[in-house]
């Protein structure tokens, strides 16, 4: 038997799926905010910290700037790996229940 729309919306697996999707994406967003605005506020409030030398002339600010970009990409990759491995299979399972009535 196919699962009706109201049944699916009320079902614990669907609610769990939606909650988990936002939990993962909002946690990653929080890390992104801390990384980027942390970097900006560090520059605004503590320029000497960013200007301290880590090599002959290279300042700490240079690797930190590159790190902000790398962290942004890694967060994106983490989301994709999670979504492909954990989110998509569950989406397919629930979708099949509504469309074909399989997997109950």
């Amino acid at each position: 038997m196919r699962t009706s729309t109201p049944e699916m919306l009320a079902s614990p697996p669907f609610k769990h799926l939606v909650r988990r999707r936002w939990l993962v994406s909002l946690s990653l967003l929080a890390v992104l905010f801390v990384t980027y605005y942390g970097y900006i506020l560090l520059i605004a409030y503590d320029k000497p910290f960013m200007a301290q030398r880590i090599g002959e002339v290279t300042t700490l600010g240079i690797p930190l700037g590159v790190a902000v970009i790398l962290v942004s990409w890694v967060l994106t990759a983490v989301y994709v790996v999670w979504a492909n491995a954990a989110y998509d299979p569950e989406v397919r399972r629930l979708r099949d229940q509504v469309e074909h009535g399989r997997g109950r």
Binding site: V18, I43, Y45, M50, E56, I62, I69, N84
Partner: protein, 512 residues
């Protein structure tokens, strides 16, 4: 050093012609595949994740980022690098908050999502206002920038440059729709990434492939200050406000959002963001090396002599390192960059006019396919011609603030309504309209009385509003007004439809 910059060299013209002939050939091929609205607006939803990732990068990496950020790093050092990071951080946010729901809920424009369960006419009109304002300011900045850049690089007049850009990009969009636009953006992204990679390699080769040696050369020629934060980030609130506009503004740029409808499903949309973030991140990591290279090898005096804003740092460096042919290549790449970005903007502007206003508001959602495609093409001509006229009207004006303005409107007018419509059951039509109008009017109003326009352009001694970018105030107000007005009104049909929408948002059931 002598430069051939500003005179049309044989190599520059040859590279330029190769790019134009190639892209027009693709447009011819694409035109035969562009009959339905799905093909015109969304390339038949047949674009792969990798192709869309490249096209997103091609849509986003403008000549302003390539030439402007290189110049900023060359002249101001580390501050240019701070600026560069802000351009990337919107991409993860786009992925986490809206990429998948946007793909599942919409058809051709972001207004499809906002209007999904609300009353079509008011929401479509308001979304089109927010969308068109964003695209318009972005387009003015691009057109004026392209007129100046092409004049500097090829020595032709500003007006002819603007008209050439207008005619070529209109040919792409008019005949080849999204299919041609996608391929133009892919070609441009590849050329730009290759060009900047070669330039970076040539710079590093001068310093034994050691970035530290490059930094040492910059410090020796100028001072340690080139590697330290300077005056860009002084007021923390202003810096955070600009950061918000750059980050969340991406989530409201119509020409970027539109690209998500070109892929088959939400999974492809997601993977395409990962590719785009990779390409764009790589670009912003290596661009400062080119900028520092220009500083150390070309020198700030010569760069500012050619163009006070520093925009010619990358072309000058290319010429010095590998001669006139490579300068020609870089100049042609910059030209292709402008064409691809303006084509994407024109398609987005035209689709707001034709899909949102004509099909849904004027025709009440009932127009034949042939009729819709015909109107979309007329809208392209109208928007493209308007862009050329604006480019000429704004000749000689300082329009650098307009990109910031476009991002501020995108994050204040488009993003709050889009996001609330996806996640909040109680969001209502009056709430959406009020939020979009608050965001649009407040952003434009505040930027006029901010230091950016009030002091820099209108030359008053004191700004009325202290922040250079109003996003932190205007976006917060757009959210607040959208929520407040929704709570004061009830729309039972929209609340009921939210349940069905959830199956489509999260499971993709019924997605187009």
């Amino acid at each position: 050093m002598d430069t051939t910059l500003g005179t049309p060299t044989l190599s520059a013209i040859a590279f330029f012609l190769v790019i134009v002939v190639l892209t027009l050939a693709i447009t011819y091929w694409a035109a035969k595949r562009t009959r339905s609205t799905k093909e015109f607006y969304a390339a038949g939803r047949s674009v792969s994740a990798l192709q869309n990732g490249l096209a997103l990068a091609g849509d986003y990496m403008s000549a302003a980022s390539f030439l402007g950020i290189t110049g900023l790093v060359a002249l101001k050092g580390y501050d240019g690098m701070i600026y560069a990071t802000g351009w990337l951080v919107g991409w993860p946010a786009l992925m986490f908050l809206i990429a998948e729901p946007l793909r599942n809920l919409g058809k051709y424009t972001f207004a499809d999502v906002v209007a999904f369960r609300l009353r079509q006419t008011p929401v479509r009109i308001a979304s089109a206002v927010g969308g068109i304002l964003t695209v318009l300011f972005y387009t003015i900045a691009q057109m004026v920038g392209s007129g100046n850049l092409i004049k500097l690089m090829f020595g032709i007049s500003y007006e002819s440059a603007v008209i050439i850009v207008g005619v070529i990009m209109m040919a792409y969009v008019l005949f080849g729709g999204m299919i041609a636009t996608t391929w133009v953006q892919i070609i441009k992204a590849v050329l730009l990434l290759v060009g900047v990679t070669v330039l970076t390699g040539l710079v590093l080769a001068q310093f034994g492939f050691s970035p530290s040696a490059l930094y040492a050369a910059v410090v020796e020629r100028y001072s340690q200050a080139a590697l330290e934060p300077g005056g860009l980030v002084t007021n923390p609130i202003d810096a955070v406000s600009l950061g918000l506009a750059l980050m969340l503004g991406l989530l409201g740029l119509p020409h970027i959002l539109m690209r998500f409808y070109t892929v088959p499903d939400a999974r492809a949309a997601r993977v395409s963001v990962l590719y785009a973030t990779g390409f764009i991140g790589y670009f912003y990591i290596i661009i400062p090396i080119v900028g520092f290279g220009a500083s150390a090898l070309v020198g700030r005096d010569l760069i500012t002599k050619i163009d006070a804003g520093g925009n010619m740092a990358a072309p000058l460096l290319a010429e010095q390192l590998a001669g006139t042919p490579f300068l020609g290549f870089i100049a042609a790449v910059a030209f292709a960059t402008i064409l691809a970005v303006v084509a994407g903007l024109t398609l987005a502007g035209a689709s707001a006019l034709s899909h949102d206003i004509y099909t849904h508001v004027i025709k009440g959602g009932h127009a034949t396919e042939a009729d819709q495609v015909r109107v979309a093409r007329w809208a392209t001509v109208a928007f493209g011609a308007f862009a050329v006229v604006l480019g000429i009207v704004f000749k000689g004006q300082n329009v650098a603030y307009m990109v910031g303005l476009a991002f501020a409107i995108a994050c204040s007018a488009n993003f709050p309504a889009l996001f609330l419509s996806i996640v909040w059951r109680r969001f209502t039509t009056p709430g959406a309209v009020a939020s979009i109008l608050t965001g649009s009017i407040l952003t434009v109003g505040l930027i006029v009385i901010s230091p950016t326009v009030w002091v820099d352009i209108l030359k008053y001694p004191q700004p009325i509003f202290p922040l250079r970018n109003p996003a932190i105030v205007s976006m917060t107000m757009a959210f607040a007004v959208g929520i407040l007005v929704s709570l004061l009104t009830r729309e039972p049909s929209a609340e009921a439809a939210f349940e069905d929408e959830k199956l489509r948002t999260y499971l993709g059931i019924g997605a187009e």
